[in-house]
């Protein structure tokens, strides 16, 4: 998938407590979460983000607490994809499962300046920042599948269907549906 938008540059070790403080963890509606993103460290952030925008962050993005309100709030705000030097693993997995692609590319992040335009192709791993071209590892196939299905929910529905077909197939395996890890 290809994403295009304005760049928001963030630093190293951005934790999920600053993305959305603990007291807001009883919020369950994404649109409501979006209103509180970075409210304490950058109250203007929410107003600056336009649909499709891309975050370029430093190392260990999303560290600390595993809270879905963080990636869900960013996605509801309109962030289309995140490129970072590295990700905290729970945040990384949450972002994938919610259909918010996380890519790792230190060179692109280091070259990015606030407000530039960027274009990210998750399938080829190609990233353009202000016209400069970078190449990173494309996301693994399983992750591509989850993201192109819009998140883990639809992927699981497909997996349940694959299992159902497998159970009803002839014993010789004829007509075996494609299964993926």
């Amino acid at each position: 998938m290809v994403f295009e938008g304005q760049v928001h540059v963030l630093g190293d070790n951005v934790d999920t407590d600053v993305m959305i403080p603990g007291r807001h963890l009883s919020i369950v509606e994404p649109a409501e979460m979006a209103k509180h993103v970075f409210e304490e460290i950058d109250p203007g952030f929410v107003a600056r983000v336009k649909p499709g925008d891309i975050i370029m962050a430093g190392a260990n993005f999303g560290s600390g607490s595993g809270r879905e309100q963080a990636p869900l709030g960013l996605k509801a705000l309109g962030i289309s994809c995140i490129v970072a030097v590295s990700f905290s693993r729970i945040f990384y997995r949450m972002a994938i499962d919610l259909g918010l692609p996380p890519l790792v590319c230190a060179e692109a992040v280091r070259s990015a300046t606030q407000g530039e335009r960027a274009r990210v192709d998750t399938r080829t791993g190609e990233i353009f920042v202000g016209g400069r071209r970078y190449r990173t590892q494309p996301l693994p196939d399983l992750v591509q599948d989850i993201i192109s299905e819009g998140g883990l929910a639809n992927w699981v529905r497909s997996e349940v269907e694959r299992r159902r077909l497998k159970q009803t197939q002839p014993p010789d395996g004829y007509g075996k549906p494609a299964t993926r890890p």
């Binding site: 603990g22 369950v28 399983l142």
Partner: protein, 421 residues
């Protein structure tokens, strides 16, 4: 080629024996425990319904605990607990713990014998890694992932690289498991363990009891790690024989296991450590913050509200008073620990000293309730995070420390070395 503890535990849980369990590989595996709290509840169950819902594939593996907004400080928190209660009833999940019936999930899980050595545990909370103290591979994961595992009874894992951390020497007075993990954070940094398994071993481990080992593993995630695991020993085996409700497996690493790196910690020369705001990796010796005035001391969380911690706190508070101008809050991690603290007379010592003793809850540890801080306030806390805004107001400051240091700060009204009290 030899294998690490993480590799061996994952290998014992993979679904297809053709899958090679080696660092970087992605494998499909079954879990033994799926831990879900009230903060995870509504969003996780929404994913569950979006995935087709139906019956949970293995309801006995699921453990539901009300601990974050428990007892509920507001209606929206009460709604999360209500959803947890409703899901437990609808799915026939027997391991459900309401406020007043359980406690903080990561301390409760081993206390109830629901986790054991060799288990593979997943949970919606990042501190799920605490169960590594008991020789389990335990990792926090996405909430959509929890819903998926409840439907499919399997999930995927990336097999982690491992760092071997070897403890040697004699544990000095006032040094606890908390200091071991703070030392690891000082050495590795907050991203030094990203995606990895931190595996603790060495001759000094025997001086840290199961409670203190929880304190060590609890903050493995603060180094970015996927899991923190203590190599099982005689203490682990004894604990497992007493508590585990299921068969257990003491998984030790092979002698020729491949570790990415090795970290040696000589405990003999250690003094208590403190993590300064606003990062758990901003670690200094307690002497480095001596004299810092303290408004509040908060003692208790998912690994430091154990009976061992409460005894350490009591040893400092006994016959002393919480300083004028300072407030102390003590949170036993579970109902059972609370009961035991009462039986041992610890609660009396706390109340006599002028400390607030509260019901088990995650409370102020995540800045939600039960002791939230205002602008400009300084706290010493035995919790695991001190990010900006974590304790309440973004202008508040939290110093992370062990229970001796915290209790000593409560008495002195400022940071002191407990040895100088």
């Amino acid at each position: 080629m030899g294998k690490t503890i993480a590799e061996k535990i994952i290998e014992a849980h993979v679904l297809h024996d053709t899958a090679r369990v080696e660092p970087g590989a992605i494998v499909r595996a079954r879990a033994d425990v799926v831990l879900i709290n009230d903060v995870n509840s509504t969003l996780t169950f929404r994913h569950f319904e979006n995935m087709g819902g139906g019956a949970v594939a293995a309801p006995d593996k699921v453990v539901l605990v009300c601990d974050h907004f428990a007892p509920a400080p507001h209606a929206s928190g009460a709604r999360l607990a209500k959803d947890l209660r409703r899901f437990a009833a609808a799915q026939g999940i027997k391991h459900f713990f309401d406020a007043g019936k359980g406690g903080i999930e990561h301390t409760l899980l081993p206390e109830q014998g629901l986790v054991g050595p060799g288990d593979l545990v997943v949970g919606g909370d990042s501190h799920t890694c605490t169960a590594g103290a008991f020789g389990a591979f335990a990792a926090g994961m996405s909430w959509a992932g929890l819903a998926a595992i409840m439907i499919l009874d399997e999930t995927w894992f990336r097999v982690p690289e491992a760092i071997r951390i070897v403890l040697s020497g004699d544990k000095p007075e006032f040094v606890t498991g908390k200091d071991i993990i703070l030392k690891v954070l000082q050495d590795l940094g907050v991203a030094g363990g990203l995606y990895k398994s931190l595996e603790f071993s060495g001759p000094a481990l025997s001086q840290f009891n199961m409670d203190e080992r929880m304190g060590i593993c609890n903050m493995a995630v603060e180094a970015g790690a996927k899991a923190g695991i203590v190599e099982p020993d005689g203490q682990t085996e004894q604990w497992a024989k007493t508590y585990c409700k299921r068969p257990f497996n003491l998984v030790r690493p092979d002698a020729d296991a491949q570790y990415e790196s090795r970290l040696e910690i000589h405990v003999s020369a250690m003094r208590p450590l403190v993590a300064k705001p606003y990062s758990p990796g901003n670690v200094v010796a307690v002497d480095g913050v001596k004299g810092v005035r303290v408004d509040q001391v908060y003692m208790g969380n998912c690994a430091n509200g154990t009976i061992t911690d409460l005894r350490q706190i009591a040893s400092i508070l006994k016959g002393r008073k919480v300083a004028k101008g300072t407030r102390a809050i003590i949170v036993p991690a579970t109902q059972e620990i609370y009961r035991q603290a009462i039986a041992e007379g610890l609660c009396e010592i706390f109340v006599e000293a002028g400390a607030a003793v509260t019901t088990p809850t995650c409370g102020a540890c995540f800045g939600a309730h039960n002791g939230v801080l205002d602008d400009g306030e300084v706290a010493v806390a035995t919790i695991n995070r001190n990010f900006k805004g974590r304790g309440g107001h973004p202008g508040a400051q939290v110093l992370l420390a062990n229970s001796f240091v915290a209790a000593a700060a409560a008495v002195a009204g400022e940071v002191v070395d407990p040895a100088d009290l």
